[in-house]
Symmetry: D2
Subunit: 345 residues, 4 copies
């Protein structure tokens, strides 16, 4: 860490900062500049000292404290230079192959789910997505079928052989989700719900952690750190678009941020072009962009009849649209040395 | 609601939209324009029909559906034209008087809390704030004293007579928070944690709901609606700054948004200049701005020794700084016809 | 257009809105809903009526006016359903081939420019970029070689046969830029400098219009409309990243926005992964993302010795890095049916 | 400046950074930490060295370079600790009194302007605003009366004795604006139009520089530095709202940012609650907020008949609304020790 003193700080002010640093078992090293003094902090800043920045910034003669290291450990490439590969029923996320997760936004009925599950499997998806508990901005919207939705997902999984990913919203539903699903999703609204993060950190299932809609990359990786620090090392990240001033799309897919996450962390990164755009016609170009930029997987909303979908119909692909996209992705993925994962491979 | 068709939509496409509207018991009224057709929807859009916008937007020949009414009911001025006044141990929030809540960001020790509590009371605060369970971006930061912090808050409350507001993070801690505190705070990171919102909606205590750091006013009011719809009508809103591109402050205090909330809703609105700025020197000007623009209350972080605070020292006022601010606010509040609430008044 | 009245608007308020609409030669068509009245406006809203929305929104009993059509004409797909192809010295931008523009951020010296120009040509670029007049946040930074830079660009163009794109900042320099360059660039800071837009709208040269760093797609297309309306139909758009809350990258490349622009407009769209990311290591993944999502061209900063570049060294590729990227792009472009344009093709 | 090396940087990498620093006549001072090395740079970073940060960041083994000083000189409190007071025809902006500028968004006619000018003068405004050249997102909107508008402003100024502020958009109109007006406004879209900034930097008139809608405080102060560096020391800043994700208001008034600017710079700061909100009902609360937070002046749009205004009617106050606001501001300004400036004082 580097402490930048204010322009007029006196020698005794610098000394008091140096004293605090020494109290913590660290070594201060000052540089007296023409206008300002800075103090370098030498020594490992471990967990107990995480609050040091805030503490130093509260000194009246300190301008700011600049961290030098990243604020996470287990999520970092420094901890694990190689890539984490998460295996779910034989599907490897983070490995050399591109993985496609697909299915309806929300489980609405047995018929809708099974039709979609069979269709996405046939088109090449190897993981089935589907929401049983759905967050919604309005308390009056459809919030999913709940436990019945989980049971239908499990049935679809048995029928198709596809493992299932579903969102957990409420700690009270965690046990049920763990019983019926194979991967648990933490949604964008809960990225900083630290109580829930700690709980899924103690789950035996892999977790897909969506980026908060206004979270920086480093906040996202620190949220992952909550799960990792509890002992669950099977965390994958999901870039699903951030909130910006632009109103022509539901969110702004942050392809830069996805590439930064792939560089800073060893965790697999999934892209969600459906949530990131909010419009069906944008799902194919943004899916391709994500794959070209190095996404480990895509998660795509598909519905047999979007015009009658209970949620997110506007961003759901029809089955023929999904088939067309998969055909395009097969060629694209090969061109970027990231062949499509196939169920039987 | 208004449905805007795409430019090339055929008559049969318009008919299919009109059919769907009629299926829901509503009346479609088309206007055939030179370039486009629009369809007005007449009839009450109640709870069950909340998904209609999404459904209509998923039709391929629909450009967009534009809601005409606000997406909340109990939080709206239409529901209650007058102002909601929330009384907590004799302190009225939302009434003619300005209320000041103050105290440490986090309860660190008995001594720190009691010294601060007595000081803020003497300076004119009528509600004591203090965190026992603290959210933190890093899993390795200080997360508060937990239940012991709650007990200390209750002790400070008994000693000073000030009611206490504290944040609840985890549903598992809700009962304890209810036991020891007088107002429950939902923090910015949990504004869209709908499971938690529903639970505090069944609490007997008033709730202060902070705005999500990237939430629009209407999303904030819909989050309040989750609580109100469960039967807890004592909800106050708290504007605590939004996330923008500006990096010289921790957040951007949205004074516009605060004024919009005061217009659209009958719920009291509290301003948090400490979180909204992140810098001690900005707390007084932003506090004054909030009062001048109509805030019902302020919540301010005060620490007897910010340089040794465990959290948020950089934005905490010292006790003399708080006393000075209170003296200024007394004059300002009177000038905007919003006299300071006093404990004995 | 649709006018949404406020909830309590009286019949006479609706009438006054309808009168104003009729005064403009348009036909109002009211729909009286349960809670609110809306008024549809039928008839062509031409240039003279562009202010109608603002005028209607200033009525006290009008909640808002919602435009139904896009606020531009010549930039729209409705005006020209096919794609605009801009030909510059035989290079076709917007056609079936992907075009690569490359070169130094800023012309620093004859040696630096010629070395780069030859290298990028050899690697497959068909347009040479280089700044002679450089905008800079600080008045004290390097602002380019000015006219001498233009002369060097013209020399490099003669030597390599590559046409040249350069930025025009000041109307006073427009004639010189027109004399020496083949395409004029309007930078992000000048996207809404309407005086300059009108002037380049009267130029005989094609214009590359960068998106303002906080401009919506529709504002960007309206800026293009300023140029098109003056008679210059050779406008290409350039997505160069938008400003968001994220600080780990210089800007956020808006791949969604690029895809929206390609859908709404017939104008070619260029992607600038150098400006959009600010970091050399992000240029390859974001270049690939842009191509996969349908970019017509890329503009990439290359420098023979980035560590000694006068501007933007951190985001400039070295010559070997550019060669590697071009090799990758050749395969990728073919996979998305967008073969690389070659100079001799 | 501080240079943070990457985690794996070798001793020779650190040496090459230190060599570059020495080449520039500065002194490098390294601190070898446990994980990383940082290098402090001692010595004055003057104008010629402004590009050093960019240069250092382009070294492959440098993580980032962190500036320690503010990137402007004449705009800084370090340069002039006291406050700049700008006197225009006897009105002092930046002094102990609050100044109100008011008038129509756009000059539409002699009658409209004179009626407004007399009314705002009578209500207590001491500077008349009015646009002759108006920027507009659409090329087809009303762009003002041009030179005729300037002449009308001069006439209104003669009649009322109020000095006039008007926006200059095009360098070609600068001479005419200087002839007829007393203060020149640079609008938000031109904040980074450096060619125009340099030109008004050579004007004899005071300049009001609006903040760019996505500009940070430091970018805004650097834009002011362009004007100051040309020799025009009469620059006032104007906070007019920034662009954020919130859509219920036209912009987000950044009261934090205004307070930061007042702290970092000696230049007077004007607040524009009309542009910052876009809604008439928000102008009074945001005006009051700005005054309470320390604004030196307000600039407010007033129209005798907003429903027939050619621009920005929705955010213009009627004359009675303005009178009411002025009455409230008189009391508020006194309460914050900032009495209203009166023309005859």
């Amino acid at each position: 860490m580097i402490v930048v003193m204010k322009a007029g700080a006196a020698r005794k002010d610098v000394d008091s900062v140096m004293d605090l640093i020494r109290e913590l078992g660290l070594r201060p090293q000052p540089i007296f500049g023409a206008e300002r003094t800075i103090v370098g902090v030498v020594g490992a800043l471990d967990e107990e000292k995480a609050g040091l920045i805030e503490q130093l910034e509260s000194f009246p003669f300190v301008d700011r404290a600049v961290p030098v290291s990243r604020p996470y450990k287990f999520a970092s490439r420094d901890w694990r230079p190689g890539k984490t590969i998460i295996e779910v029923n034989g599907v490897k996320i983070g490995g050399p192959q591109l993985v496609i997760m697909a299915g309806p936004c929300t489980v609405e009925s047995r018929g809708q789910l099974l039709e979609t599950a069979h269709a996405v499997k046939e088109a090449g998806a190897t993981i089935l997505r589907g929401g049983a508990f759905k967050p919604s901005t309005s308390p009056y919207s459809f919030h999913g079928l709940g436990r019945q939705g989980l049971e239908l997902l499990a049935e679809a999984s048995r029928e198709t052989g596809l493992p299932v990913i579903t969102e957990v919203l409420d700690p009270d539903d965690l046990a049920a989700c763990e019983e019926f699903a194979n991967i648990l999703q933490i949604g964008t609204r809960n990225m900083a719900n630290f109580a829930l993060l700690r709980k899924v950190g103690r789950s035996r299932l892999p977790i897909m952690l969506k980026r908060g809609m206004a979270s920086t990359i480093d906040e996202w990786l620190q949220a992952a750190e909550y799960i990792l620090a509890e002992g669950n090392s099977n965390v994958m990240l999901c870039e699903r678009g951030i909130r910006t001033f632009e109103t022509s799309t539901r969110n702004t897919f942050d392809v830069n941020g996805m590439a930064v996450a792939l560089e800073r962390s060893h965790l697999p990164v999934v892209a969600d072009p459906s949530q990131a755009t909010g419009h069906r016609y944008l799902v194919p170009p943004v899916s391709k962009a994500a794959v070209a930029a190095g996404a480990d997987a895509l998660i795509i909303e598909v519905h047999p009849d979007p015009a009658h979908a209970k949620k997110d119909g506007a961003q759901s692909l029809t089955i023929p649209e999904f088939q067309k996209l998969m055909a395009d992705l097969k060629i694209l993925a090969a061109a970027v040395n990231r062949p499509l994962s196939m169920q039987d491979s």
